[in-house]
């Protein structure tokens, strides 16, 4: 995948690459329009500022501004190689922390937090897990990888998904990519049955299922070639 085609991540924006992603554009536009009227939007701008303060690329490891509540827990975690430190509330999920606070938006919500769709999959300590059913306060010391990290590392699974057209709308794709990458980390020589089994927890409403096994097998072959 060429650099231009990659949707810029937050870090890249902060590094001043000049790109404005669609998401950031919408967020800023929403802020400009909605800020005077809606309190909740002001909160999200606070969260965005906090995310920037916590961005290791910009500032190294910094603590977020303390929130006034005794039950907050300090959580230090590695996401896609960057270290983050946050004070989290007990009822925050990992997905909330990654998306709303840190700004990695690839863990999606589809099933509403029941663990039924796999769209919020991230890799935590080598295991593909559901970030909507993981409490953020239990992730202290965890190493987490999201689809952004996998794309930035130019893992062959990304190009294989593009080559095989293994998506239509793309909403479920980050979950599939994380699951596939976790499988290839554990089992570099998967059979088609292994792939189908491993991807069994990811749903795709566009029904691109038939294209996933060839994509993952192609990625496995390319990985071996690389090694």
């Amino acid at each position: 995948m060429s650099e231009e085609k990659t949707r810029p991540t937050k870090q890249e924006n902060n590094e001043g690459s000049g790109h404005i992603s669609r998401r950031d554009f919408l967020k800023d536009a929403g802020l400009a329009v909605g800020a005077p009227a809606l309190g909740s939007i002001a909160v999200s701008s606070e969260a965005a500022a906090q995310a920037k303060a916590n961005d290791p690329a910009a500032k190294g490891v910094t603590a977020s501004a303390a929130k006034p509540a005794a039950e907050l827990t300090a959580v230090e975690l590695t996401v896609n190689g960057g270290k983050y430190r946050y004070m989290v509330e007990p009822n925050w999920t990992l997905r909330q922390l990654l998306r709303d606070e840190i700004g990695f938006t690839s863990p999606k919500d589809w099933c509403g937090g029941l663990g039924a769709c796999g769209s919020c999959t991230v890799i935590m300590n080598g295991r593909p897990i559901l970030s909507c059913l993981t409490l953020a306060c239990e992730c202290n010391g965890a190493a987490i990888e999201t689809a952004e990290g996998i794309a930035k590392a130019k893992h062959p699974v990304i190009q294989a998904y593009i080559n095989n057209n293994a998506f239509q709308c793309g909403y479920c794709t980050p979950g599939f990519v994380c699951t596939a990458k976790a499988l290839l980390d554990k089992n570099p020589n998967p059979t088609e049955a292994d792939v189908r089994d491993a991807l069994g927890g990811n749903l795709c409403r566009c029904a691109t299922y038939q294209r996933h096994p060839p994509a993952v097998l192609e990625a496995a072959a390319n990985l071996k070639q690389k090694a």
Partner: protein, 320 residues
């Protein structure tokens, strides 16, 4: 996505600490969290726990080892580790397959064996969001499945008027393998572990915590198997599942998702005990297993009976 309402969270360091927190009340045990957090998010129960006691931080609860003629599995062992373990797959096939067929790969990576056997029963009235149906399992007086849509419900009758079924895939395997479940208070035969309570599904006291699963090594010549019927290969809870261990003139067969708790098919065991495992005998045992099964009024769940029969038959044939 609905956010979780507030609660306090404690990382337990020892079993005793966790038990004392549970004794104080308004607390819930959190291990894998794949069931608990969903029910909390959708406020399925009329009560909401004030404290979640995390058991994952207790050291030494995640292991699979063979010791003293039995397989010992730590309560916090993830289902995926059990499913992938070469030892479990080889000698305790039914358990490995039961763990492997549970839910999705992600949930198996997160979910623990103790959580799987302690999960609450499955019924769409019970599980409806915002406690819309205050049924018997929540302290109410009505079973809504009795007159409502009960296509997935019990074929062996109600327990205290509740028609929900136990959805665990590892539970029938543990019963078939004659396992014992060790808690911080006692050692319980797997067969006696489940019971209809409000709203739970086990006989565990409020401050009782599962610490270990013990499975006696099957005698040489014994084979075990697990078969599951579900709408989809992955993700789904079972419509019916069945585990069997047969050999040396003995037979243990257990169905699940057909009754309030794992249902040991004693008549099927009698029918196949000491006989050669072939199509005709397995078929007869399957018929014996569902001889006392009865569809609920309206026959909405009648279709489960031939499936249960076939599951028993296939589980027996897989032990050949």
């Amino acid at each position: 996505m609905k956010t979780l309402k507030k609660f306090a969270h404690v990382n337990a360091k020892t079993i005793d600490e966790a038990a004392s927190l549970l004794q104080a009340g308004h607390a819930a045990v959190l291990s894998g969290g794949t069931d608990l957090l969903g029910t909390m998010r959708f406020e399925v129960l009329p009560t909401y726990p004030e404290v979640l006691v995390n058991l994952k931080t207790i050291p030494g609860m995640e292991y699979i080892k063979e010791e003293g003629g039995m397989l010992k599995i730590g309560a916090q062992t993830r289902l995926e580790d059990i499913a992938k373990s070469a030892l479990v797959r080889k000698k305790y096939t039914a358990l490995a397959e039961g763990a492997h067929r549970t839910a999705t790969p992600h949930i198996r990576e997160m979910g623990t064996i103790s959580g799987n056997i302690c999960q609450m029963n499955r019924c769409w009235y019970f599980r409806n969001p915002d406690n819309r149906f205050n049924c018997i399992r929540k302290g109410g007086t009505t079973c809504y499945a009795m007159v409502g849509d009960n296509r997935y419900h019990s074929i062996f009758g109600a327990v205290k008027m509740c028609l929900a079924v136990n959805p665990s895939d590892t539970a029938p395997a543990l019963v078939a393998l004659n396992a014992k479940i060790k808690t911080n208070k006692r050692l319980i035969e797997a067969e006696n572990f489940w019971e209809m309570t409000v709203p739970g599904s086990t006989i565990l006291a409020a401050d009782e915590i599962v610490t270990e699963i013990q499975v006696p090594t099957p005698a040489a010549g014994c084979k075990s198997a697990f078969i599951k019927f579900a709408i989809r290969k992955s993700i789904d809870f079972p419509i019916v599942n069945c585990a069997a261990m047969i050999g040396n003139g003995e037979a243990r067969i257990c169905l699940n998702a057909v009754y309030n708790k794992p249902y040991r098919a004693l008549k099927a065991e009698e029918a196949i005990k000491g006989k050669t495992i072939d199509e005709a005998n397995a078929d007869a045992a399957g018929a014996a297993a569902v001889a006392s099964a009865k569809a609920l009024p309206g026959d909405r769940n009648k279709w489960k009976i031939p499936i249960a029969k076939t599951m028993v038959k296939r589980a027996i044939l897989a032990c050949a």
